[in-house]
Amino acid sequence: MSSTLLRTVPALRGALRAGAVVKPAAALASTSFVRGKATLPDLSYDYGALEPHISGKIMELHHKKHHQTYVSGLNSALEAIAEAESKGDFTKAASVAPLLNFHGGGHLNHSLFWENLAPASRDGGGEPDGALKKAITEDFGSFESFTKQMNTALAGIQGSGWAWLVKDKTSGTLGLVTRANQDPVAGSLAPLLGIDAWEHAYYLQYENRKAEYFQAIWNVINWKTVASRFEKA
């Protein structure tokens, strides 16, 4: 669970009362809050726009049902914590941590995921350019070698999880990490590009052939978003 997300909620709540405009932290630019509650962000493309690489049915369920469940779960966890806190029951508040991590991570991960995807007819697919391309070439040997390593990392996930291209904020170096379930990328690592390896992300279309999904998704990666995260991190 990113501590930034925790801090953003009360800060924004206060700001809304004061009528001020608040800019959320860069990594959370897409994560919207209304009156201190997390809400499901809109997609900037239609559910069917990533076809044939990701089906409209998958996108609709994934966004409208799965992501919504994380949003609702996060709000419930935050409410439970606030209630426990108001009673001074800090042990109870701490016991909500696993739910906060799971649903908060799920909300954060999916918010980042939608934005690092784009229709192949628009910004999706191809290769990065500029400083990001240079950094990928330096840290992975080549773009081709990077996608290969990312696909190997994705295929190696045992159970549900995510693989991320990350930037180490202390050194500027790029790296690949995987996270179990909905554990978010946090700490000194900035998430640049996330790929969801949960079965719900591909099963209706690819069934057990997950390697085909990992191949296809490169056609809808939004490198503009990834480059912008790289520059800000």
Binding site: T69, Q158, G159, N181, Q182, E199, Y203, L204, E207, N208
Partner: protein
């Protein structure tokens, strides 16, 4: 069921055999580092094989007499003693299954003292700590997604119609060694 058995379970079996072969090679070569590096693959794929083998056997068509709890008189007695009633057990088991974060399994087990307990295991971690797995329910999304989509509560509700209580009774009355002896014969 077809994909789950012919594709997913087969993948665990093949990957387990490959990992065991590599492990045997590493052992013959006295390469400890390589043996350690293979442990996660053996646990994941071996667990996947054991869990699915147990799962198929603790399921049965709903019109079979074995799908009725009457097929497990001793076990249902013990369930009633432990949870107060069968309904309370079903509620507790369902809640445990639905609270799994990510992929995993929920099990009714008999511990070494003979008491019944509900445990969950993540990914393909098997129940191998001396407890006897009596009933296992697969909570990986591949177990239900094509039919139930994100409605996993309905999957959990319906799986109670196809539990093989005759198998469950046999496992409950048997020992850990009985159960794993039959599994060993399959490996």
């Amino acid at each position: 069921m077809e994909l789950h058995h012919s594709k997913h379970h087969t993948a665990y079996v093949n990957n387990l055999n490959n990992a065991l072969l590599s492990h045997a090679t590493a052992m013959n070569a006295g390469d400890i580092a390589a043996q350690i590096a293979l442990q996660p693959l053996i646990k994941f794929n071996g667990g996947g094989h054991i869990n699915h083998a147990l799962f198929w056997e603790n399921l049965v068509p709903s019109d079979s007499p074995d799908a009725k709890t009457e097929a497990a008189p001793s076990l249902t007695d013990e369930i009633a003693k432990t949870w107060g009633s069968f309904d309370s057990f079903k509620k507790a088991y369902s809640a445990a299954l639905l609270s799994i974060q990510g992929s995993g399994w929920g099990w009714l087990v008999k511990d070494q003292a003979g008491r019944l307990r509900i445990v969950t295991t993540k990914d393909q971690d098997p129940v191998v700590g001396g407890e006897v797995p009596i009933i296992g329910v697969d909570m990986w999304e591949h177990a239900y997604y094509l039919q139930y989509l994100n409605g996993k509560a309905a999957y959990v509700e319906n799986i109670f119609h196809v539990i093989n209580w005759k198998t469950a009774e046999k496992r409950f009355l048997g020992t850990h060694d009985d159960l794993f002896a039959s599994l060993r014969a399959m490996l």
